[in-house]
């Protein structure tokens, strides 16, 4: 009696013996269970994976575009300078030093009125009159979105007679940038909702069709995790395969964007391709597994 008592007590307290061969066999079993579940899902597998691939393609394409637009905005920001025309009596160097102290100002270049005059005279035929041009400062701003505030900060200086910058262009790029960024975030939410819903329902059907079997497994003492892990893996695998298939159309988008970059001679964003691929797999797998998880929570009482 006491020996039986001991074995039961020990068995109930301990988990399955852990040596690597045992674990390997368990991993193998769980993999087989996962494949079995997928086999049972039949033709529906194709619909699930295609749908996930489609929405991940939309996400990937948009995310990739967003990165490109960001790099365009950045690049344009670099060439966008504010031209500041000074009053005749102003000392260019003093003003330049003051402007340098303004936040977000990266560089200030002084264009003496003599230079501007020479340039102008080279371009158009002007009679030999006295140089009417003011000294000019070219102010470079760190980021395109800061141009406006820097512009306003310089405008209030008394020695400034006039200013200009490609305000419209900067604004448009900024708007485009905001639009693609916002859409990317929105699409991430849509990807989440759709993937989780699809996987949730699929796993619910799997659980439903295996209801009796799962009940028997439970009664016979099959561990909860052994029942759950294949279902989670199934969801995660759909996400993985969806992402894998989405790589094909993503490649097309990527090539298109690369051509655009080459045309404008603006370097493409570095690591953009890798980032998008990683993001797609991450979202696919985590939302796939998440959908399974929710389904298990709701429909599997173990």
């Amino acid at each position: 009696m006491s020996s039986n008592k001991q074995t039961i007590k020990k068995q109930v307290k301990k988990h399955i013996p852990k040596d690597w061969l045992t674990e390997l066999r368990i991993v193998y079993r769980i993999t087989m269970e996962t494949l079995n579940d997928i086999k049972r899902t039949g033709i529906v597998n194709i619909i699930i994976i295609t749908t996930i691939a489609a929405i991940l393609t939309i996400f990937g394409g948009l995310f990739r575009t967003a990165l490109s637009v960001n790099s365009f905005a950045h690049e344009l920001g670099n060439v966008l300078e504010i031209s500041v025309y000074l009053k005749q009596n102003a000392d260019a160097q003093t003003v330049a030093n003051r402007i340098k102290k303004i936040e977000h100002v990266q560089k200030v270049r002084i264009i003496p009125k003599e230079n501007s005059w020479q340039d102008l005279k080279r371009e158009i035929d002007i009679p030999d009159i006295e140089n009417p041009l003011p000294d000019t400062l070219h102010v470079k701003v760190d980021k395109p979105q800061n141009i406006n505030s820097v512009f306003n900060n310089i405008k209030v200086l008394s020695v400034v007679s006039d200013m200009s910058y490609a305000q419209e262009l900067a604004k448009k790029i900024q708007i485009l940038n905001n639009v693609v960024n916002t859409s990317t975030v929105l699409v991430v939410i849509i990807v989440a909702i759709l993937t989780i819903t699809i996987i949730n329902n699929t796993i619910q059907l799997v659980i439903q069709s295996r209801k009796d079997e799962i009940e028997i497994m439970r009664l016979m003492g099959v561990s909860n995790w052994y029942i759950k892990i294949p279902l989670i893996m199934q969801g995660a695998l759909y996400g993985f395969l969806g992402a894998a298939f989405a790589l094909i159309p993503l490649n097309v988008v990527q090539n298109m964007l690369n051509n655009v970059h080459r045309f404008f001679m603006i370097p493409g964003p570095i690591f953009a391709g890798n980032m998008v691929v990683i993001a797609m797999f991450f979202l696919g797998i985590s939302f796939g597994a998440g959908g399974s998880f929710l389904s298990i929570k709701k429909h599997l009482q173990v």
Binding site: M1, N4, K5, Q6, T7, I8, K9, Q11, V12, K13, K14, H15, I16, P17, L21, T22, E23, L24, R25, I26, R29, E213, E215, I216, M217, R218, L219, M220, G221, V222, S223, N224, Y226
Partner: protein, 226 residues
């Protein structure tokens, strides 16, 4: 091996079990008898932790399973064999796979699984049916498969809830004899039944339930009081 103390199980407002106190020793063969609705299945479910008592303690092998955390329940169930009236076999899997299922999930080697499964099937006399599907077997054979599955992990305890409930007298006798043989190997066997012929034939300890109460507990007893 098993001690029940002041067990009460209440479903909403009816009592399935009332103040049940029982001691079952290691190696015993016990019949739990009673009319339908007497509480036999409820008692069995408490033992394999499918139900939790409303009050009282269920000690098995020195642990109180009344408050066993749910993640330990599978471990508990692997320490016992459970046999049901409706066999609960996986219909689309062979006899062999049905018996092997649980020990496969434990990561045991194929060689050992093979030895254990064939051993268990030999005990129930189905060595020649290992490839058959449950649908190709008679009720008695299906129940024997489920008994093989119950003992394949070498448990010290076997619980059978009306194992002959769906069987004719001949098959019932075969199944009971197998359970008796298993008991003779030292495994504690608890069988609920309302088959008086079987109970009277085997003359084991008989615990009688009536409306959830233990009204009789007799060694080498019969179904009805004599």
């Amino acid at each position: 091996m098993i001690q029940l103390r002041s067990i009460t199980k209440k479903y909403k407002n009816n009592y399935a079990l009332r103040n049940v106190n029982l001691d079952i020793l290691s190696g015993e063969f016990v019949f739990v008898v009673g009319a339908s609705g007497a509480g036999k299945s409820t008692l069995m479910k408490l033992l394999y932790k499918e139900e939790t008592p409303s009050s009282g303690t269920v000690m098995i092998g020195g642990i109180n399973i009344a408050n066993l955390p749910s993640d330990k329940v599978p471990n508990l169930r692997r320490c016992m064999g459970i046999v049901f009236q409706d066999y609960k076999l996986l219909q689309n899997q062979s006899v062999y796979d049905n018996v092997a299922y649980v020990i496969r999930t434990l990561g045991i080697s194929t060689k050992e699984i093979n030895a254990r499964v064939l051993g268990a099937l030999k005990v129930v006399g189905l060595s020649d049916k290992i490839k058959a599907k449950p649908t190709e077997l008679s009720g008695g054979e299906q129940q024997r498969v489920s008994i093989a599955r119950a003992i394949v992990n070498g448990p010290p305890l076997l619980i059978a809830d009306e194992p002959t409930g769906n069987l004719d007298p001949k098959n019932s006798m075969e199944v009971m004899q197998i359970l008796d043989q298993i008991n003779q190997r030292g495994i504690t066997v608890i069988v609920s039944t309302h088959d008086s012929a079987m109970v009277d034939y085997f003359r084991k300890r008989v615990i009688t339930l009536e409306n959830g109460e233990v009204v009789r507990d007799i060694q080498a007893g019969t179904y009805e009081q004599q």
